[in-house]
Structures are given as C-alpha cells and as structure tokens.
C-alpha cells in the first residue's frame, strides 16, 4: 500500500476521534482550524513513523500535542468556569454527555487529555504510552477524574 493510501485510510479510521479531540481543545469558531492543524501535523510526521509504538498511540500523541500547542496560542482561551453548569442546573444534568462536555471544558488541557483518551476507549497501558506516564499513574488520575465528575455533576 502506498503512503498516500495508508495515510488516507488512517485518517478515515480515526476521523471521529480527531473530530472529538479538536472540539474539546478549541472553541466553536476554530475547532475546524485545529482539526486541519492536526491533519497537517499527522501528514508531516507520517513518513517518520517508525512503528516503535502502535499507530493509534502515535496518532493520539500527534493529535494531542498539536492540540496543546493550539490552546497555548494567545487567542485561545479556555471556556470560563461559570459556563460549567452546577449540579441541578435545569436542563443540564439530564444529559450526561452534555454535562461531560462541560466538565471537560473546566479541566486544564493536560487533565482533559487523560479523560479524553479513556473516553476514546484506549486501554490504560496505551493511555500511559500516549502521555509518557506509568499505567498506575494513569489509573490514579482516571479514578480521581471520574470521582470528580460523578460527585460534582451526577450525584445531586
């Protein structure tokens, strides 16, 4: 398979994940810019992929590192905390996905990545490889983040 076809296939297979990541690291007005940056970085790095890591691990690394660079640019602002609903806000707590989205918005970019990788279904060991941490460290963070989410938003 030539490199172009392999790349296109990889993008198609991971389209949903890339879209979801871009949405959670950029605002409604520029998430498509971030998505394009991710694709461009993936294309630039694709030739240098050396198979030492799984391809999905590599893809998430490139996408998340691009997203981190994106949020550090001066025009990118995190959504303020007051946009995050408190438990019991009318119409919010009923949809866990909506609440989860708001919860992600209040996390700092690094914490957010831990939760996002888990939501994408990556096994703990792979999350650890993406982040450069031990599997235990990832487990500790995941447990804490889930508890925060459940206590703050769903146990009301």
């Amino acid at each position: 398979m030539d490199i172009e076809a392999a790349f296109t296939r990889m993008l198609e297979e991971n389209r949903g994940a890339l879209l979801r990541l871009a949405r959670r690291y950029a605002g409604p007005e520029d998430w498509q810019d971030l998505l394009q940056e991710m694709q461009l970085q993936l294309w630039r790095s694709f030739g240098g992929f050396d198979c030492r890591a799984q391809r999905s691990t590599w893809l998430y690394r490139v996408a998340l590192n691009t997203a981190l660079s994106h949020v550090r640019k001066p025009r990118r602002e995190h959504r303020p905390l007051d946009e995050v609903p408190e438990p019991g806000d009318a119409g919010h707590a009923v949809d866990p996905l909506y609440v989860l989205d708001r919860f992600l918005a209040m996390l700092d970019p690094v914490q957010r990545s831990v939760l996002l990788l888990d939501l994408e279904g990556l096994p703990r060991e792979e999350v650890a490889e993406v982040l450069g941490l031990s599997a235990n460290a990832v487990a500790v963070r995941m447990t804490r983040l889930r508890q925060m989410f459940e206590q703050r938003f769903l146990e009301d």
Partner: protein, 195 residues
C-alpha cells in the same frame, strides 16, 4: 452512572466535518516551506549585500593603508557572513519539534526550546548587536575622528541598539520564560502522582 455506557455514547457522537485530502495537505506543507525558503533567501541576500558593501570598503581601506578602518570594516564583514547561520539556528530552536513523542516528552522539549529561545534573545547584544556596533563605531571614529557629527551619529546608533537589546530581553522574559513556566506547570501537573 455506567461509565462504559457513557464511553459508548461518547464514541458514537461525532460532529460532521470533512477531512482534508492528501493533495491539499501536500499543498499546505509546500506553501509553508516556500515561505521559510523565501525568508532564508531574503536574509541571505541582505547578508551578502552587507558583506559586499563592507568588503569593498575594507579593500579600499587596505589599498589606502588605513589599517584600523580596514580592521573594523572586516569585523562587520565577518558578522554579515555568520548572521544568517545565527538566525537559522534561532529558528531551529523555536520549531515545534516532533509531535509523535509522548505528551510528557513533548512538553519537556517545548520547555527546553522556549528556554533556549529566551537565552538566545537575552544574548542578542552579544551575537547580533555588538559586532556591528563595535565595527561601525571603530570605522566611524577611525575615519572621521571625534567630530560632533560622528559622535552624534554614534549616540543615535547606541540608543537604537540599546532599544533593540531591551526589546529582546523584554520578549525573552514576558514571552519565552513565561511560556517555559507555563509548560513547567503542565509538566508538574502531568507528572505529579498526586495531581
């Protein structure tokens, strides 16, 4: 709450957006490199102009036996010859780095790059300003002596260079060192077992 169900719902939800075709990615990549090459070319042309102009002045000074003038002029020539390499080095430091490494390694590399960039800007007076300042000061005084015109010209030059040095130090502190501090906070947040 069933976290697995939440995860499942999460993965089912994706907004619609077209992915870029490889041809478009290739075009954008090429376009960026064209800009980089154009900037490199412009710097090289400017450096060549400095080298040629001051080189000719040095030759004239040597022919006339004005050794002091020739020496200071040659200092400017040497600066003009090495400047493009210095500028390219600074751009290499500022590059985004390999995105395919782990997040922790990426943040650490970014921090190192930001600190290297800050150090380079803090020393801009040494590698960017001092050689031409010394060269032009020496050349002016050797040629014109301590005349009011020469001293006025040199005073303006010193003020200009001091301003450039100050702006660079300011940028190093407020942009690159601040950026490095922010990256360190992220590294700490990621690496801290109790975060």
């Amino acid at each position: 709450m069933d976290w697995n169900q939440l995860r499942h719902d999460w993965q089912d939800a994706a907004p619609a957006a077209p992915m870029m075709a490889v041809d478009e990615l290739r075009r954008r990549d090429r376009s960026l490199w064209t800009k980089v090459r154009r900037r490199d070319l412009l710097e090289t042309v400017a450096a060549v102009a400095v080298v040629v102009w001051f080189g000719l002045m040095a030759i004239v000074a040597l022919v006339e036996g004005a050794w002091l003038q020739a020496a200071f002029t040659l200092l400017v020539v040497a600066w003009g010859a090495v400047l493009p390499f210095g500028l390219r080095r600074s751009r290499r430091l500022a590059r985004d780095g390999d995105h395919g490494v782990s997040m922790l390694a990426y943040l650490q590399a970014q921090r190192e790059a930001a600190l290297a960039q800050a150090r380079m800007l803090e020393r801009v007076w040494l590698w960017y300003l001092a050689p031409p300042a010394i060269g032009i000061t020496g050349l002016t005084l050797a040629r014109d002596g301590f005349t009011p015109g020469a001293l006025g010209y040199l005073a303006v030059l010193v003020l200009l260079y001091a301003g450039i040095a100050w702006l660079n130090r300011h940028a190093a502190r407020t942009q690159f060192r601040a950026h490095a501090d922010e990256l360190q906070r992220q590294i700490d947040a990621l690496g801290d077992e109790h975060a």
